[in-house]
Symmetry: C2
DNA sequence: TTCCGTTGTCGTACGTCGTACCGTACAACA
DNA sequence: TGTTGTACGGTACGACGTACGACAACGGAA
């Protein structure tokens, strides 16, 4: 299945900036329409539902017609990513810390709105209009924080990593719930194995904490995210204020 | 392809703890051997190389024979995850902060040693021997930090999220390099589009920072990770010391 | 208006995947 | 020495991405 052909910015950029759009004959097929349909499918049923056949069917078009406008599925994924990153709005007002918090919440919300984003390669996305807008916004937020350039980059990276990881765990937990693998069911299934899982000899701390947790219950994802964000920003703040 | 059958702890736990191992007839096939082969394939060529046919071939066995011992591919993935989490060694000595740092580095190293881990559902993994050992280790590290139980959980979650996100970005970047999508190539491909990407009117900050970045160069992943880890622990430390 | 080359459209087909189904043959017990 | 339970695995089905080539719709030239 893997055709060993990798998408690269060289082939993706003209698509992203629509500088080489193919004319449509009778079908009304355009890059934009294809990406729109793919995003709709992914939002509804996950990235697994984005098949070339599925996208084509949604557009009322033959499967292979897509290949006139898009080289392949991986490039389509890159286009989808840039498409949903285009919602990155400029953040004004407040100090760098507040701006960063707003951005982190924005990014988290986008991941939860489009959880398939978390499955896509995103380490070094091609600079389409959407990714460029997000890049601009992130940099502008940290502008004037007083950090050196290298520190600014590292800080953005730390925030991005945290937001990504937190969103991914939450997204997977949501999938679990949707498919019936609830918290309740989880512990029900573990009941026959609790003597192994919570063996006080092998796992003393786990045994003890499980007791406490049963009383207190787990924190929800929202407050857990806010806690981590606040701690990370506090740690960066220490650096800004020369305290650490 | 999706058979709508989801793996759950109820079916996976007996496999994880080997309480219902099927006897092997002439082939020497066991759960352990299957998991071992699958991990070897994944380490070598990624999670995509772990196909039932591939695992069977590596074991010199018919494809369908695997299904005698393992219900399906998703359960095999869960077994693989627990298998590599079993390397979680107890961390002794130092204060909570040092112990957390050691654990974070251990976890990051495991993600980079087994990057396919990052692709697996891991939000609420079934408690096999490996996952239980990691859980015990994590909790023991934070024991005695003075944080309340809810804060401890949130702190672990924040650290886990950060480590996961950072490892994922680094892993993807490594894949990019391996497949020829190097940093150099990236900017070469962008050259014809720089007037769009770095348009001073639309993206003023990006335009300016790109100039600086060209001089300074990017920080590597190691120092970037250490920066984020240090900041996050500093922020948690503020809380412990009642400073924030 | 007619013709023809260009090119958007898409039906067919191939090789991959996970796995359902079922026949076969071996091991353990009678 | 039957008899039976079950480990093993061959075949097949429906999904997938996409290579290939036939066809038809369009634009410009005559």
């Amino acid at each position: 299945m893997n055709s060993q052909r990798w998408p690269d910015p060289g082939t993706t950029l003209p698509l992203l900036w629509r500088t080489a759009e193919r004319p449509s004959r009778g079908s009304g097929l355009t890059i934009g329409a294809i990406v729109e349909a793919a995003v709709a499918l992914a939002d509804a049923d996950g990235i697994g539902a984005v098949t070339m056949r599925g996208v084509a069917e949604r557009l009322g078009v033959g499967t292979m017609s897509l290949y006139t406008h898009v080289p392949g599925k991986r490039e389509l994924h890159a286009l989808m990513l840039d498409r949903v990153f285009a919602d990155a709005a400029a953040v004004a007002g407040g100090d760098w810390r507040e701006r960063c918090a707003v951005i982190a919440r924005q990014d988290r919300a986008r991941y939860l709105r489009h959880p398939w984003l978390l499955e896509l390669p995103a380490a070094r996305p091609a600079f389409g209009p959407g990714v460029a807008a997000k890049y601009e916004r992130d940099l502008a937020a940290l502008d004037g924080s007083g950090l050196r350039a290298a520190e600014m980059n590292a800080a953005v990276m730390a925030l991005t990593s945290f937001v990504y990881g937190a969103a991914r765990f939450q997204s997977q937990a949501r999938d679990d719930e949707r498919d019936g693998r609830t918290e309740r069911r989880f512990w029900q299934d573990h009941e026959p194995f609790l003597h192994l899982v919570l063996d006080p000899a092998r796992f003393p701390t786990a045994h003890r904490v499980a007791e406490e947790a049963r009383r207190d219950g787990d924190a929800d994802h929202d407050s857990s995210f806010e806690f981590g964000l606040e701690r990370l920003l506090a740690g960066i703040g220490d650096l800004v204020e020369g305290r650490a």
